[in-house]
């Protein structure tokens, strides 16, 4: 074997070919296919036929509906109150963006249902606020309570002593 063929042997230690972007693309397509099949299976699984040929919801969908109804029946109306005396954001103070609240004064009314923990969480660790449960019932009842409290807020002593008075609590951007 001459020097040139020693240095440029093609049979030994071949360099692995660079897989290129193709492998990643193929993997992505495979994942999409799997997700698509799962979604398709779920979409086609929502109805079943009983022994009499009557079409009805699948047990999985029935269960999901029951859970949803249970959650809507178990709601609560809450108030977020100032934890300490200080300045709080105000969405109803005209040009002013802050309002001075004393501890215990109302910042916002709201409604929670099971599984929606994210809605008030940032308010509790981001602002000096406490969450107080005022009413428990169905979502309908809680929304009614919330509306009543938002409208009646204007009549609270803590608001009547202000000048100018607020139409709704500082933290409620709209009536409902």
């Amino acid at each position: 074997m001459n020097t040139v063929s020693k240095n440029y042997r093609t049979g030994a230690n071949p360099i692995a070919p660079y897989p290129g972007p193709m492998r990643g693309i193929l993997l992505f397509i495979l994942c999409c296919c799997i997700l698509g099949l799962v979604a398709l299976w779920e979409e086609n699984d929502f109805l079943i036929q009983d022994e009499n040929g009557v079409v009805k919801l699948s047990p999985a969908r029935e269960e999901k509906l029951d859970k949803r109804l249970h959650r809507l029946e178990n709601a609560e109306q809450y108030v977020l109150t100032a934890r300490i005396d200080g300045y709080y954001p105000c969405y109803n103070c005209g040009k002013d963006t802050l309002i001075y609240l004393r501890a215990g004064e109302v910042w916002k009314y709201g409604v929670s249902i099971q599984g929606e923990k994210g809605r008030y969480r940032n308010q509790l660790d981001g602002k000096e606020l406490l969450y107080r449960v005022q009413y428990k019932g169905s979502i309908q009842e809680c929304l009614q309570q919330e509306a009543i409290k938002i409208y009646q807020y204007a009549l609270l002593p803590e608001n009547l002593k202000r000048n100018p008075r607020l139409i709704r609590p500082p933290g409620n951007k709209v009536d409902l």
Binding site: N74, V79, I84, G104, L124, D125, G126, L130, Y131, V133
Partner: protein, 142 residues
């Protein structure tokens, strides 16, 4: 998170909730913030502890202990039994809160295995702090 230590509550809007609302959450947060610095223990920048005191059967709020690695914050929601708070004085409630705070750290921090945070030393310092305040003793003894 507004502070390195945040103490707040999910409370009934009644006299039982008032036992935490007006003084105790403020006292606990103030003492933790005054005596401890999270940066001394590592990378965690905030710990929020939300005490839940709601009537039995509350299915909306659940206990949790979450670490958010991106923000390096710990969010905790733990329940104090409503009846126990109802039967306790305001000072006793503060002791219940301190005990729950410490117990939660002891139980959950080791499981989380938070990188670059000395959980054991932090928990120990919280215990010493609460002992110094007399919050881990029974109210009669304190």
């Amino acid at each position: 998170m507004r502070n390195q230590f945040v103490i707040s509550g999910i409370l009934e809007d009644d006299q039982v909730g008032d036992k935490l609302a007006f003084n105790n959450v403020v006292i606990l947060e103030k003492v933790l913030s005054e005596y401890l610095k999270l940066s001394n223990y590592g990378d965690v920048v905030g710990i929020a502890f939300i005490f839940m005191v709601t009537t039995p059967g509350d299915s909306i709020h659940e206990e949790e202990f979450t670490y958010r690695p991106k923000k390096k914050e710990i969010y905790i929601q733990m329940r104090l039994p409503y009846q126990e708070v109802e039967n306790a004085s305001e000072t006793e409630v503060l002791h219940l809160m301190a005990a729950k705070y410490l117990q939660t750290l002891e139980e959950h921090l080791p499981k989380k295995k938070i990188a670059h945070f000395d959980s054991a030393r932090f928990t120990q310092d919280v215990q010493h702090l609460f002992e110094q305040q007399g919050w881990l003793a029974s109210v009669e003894a304190a």
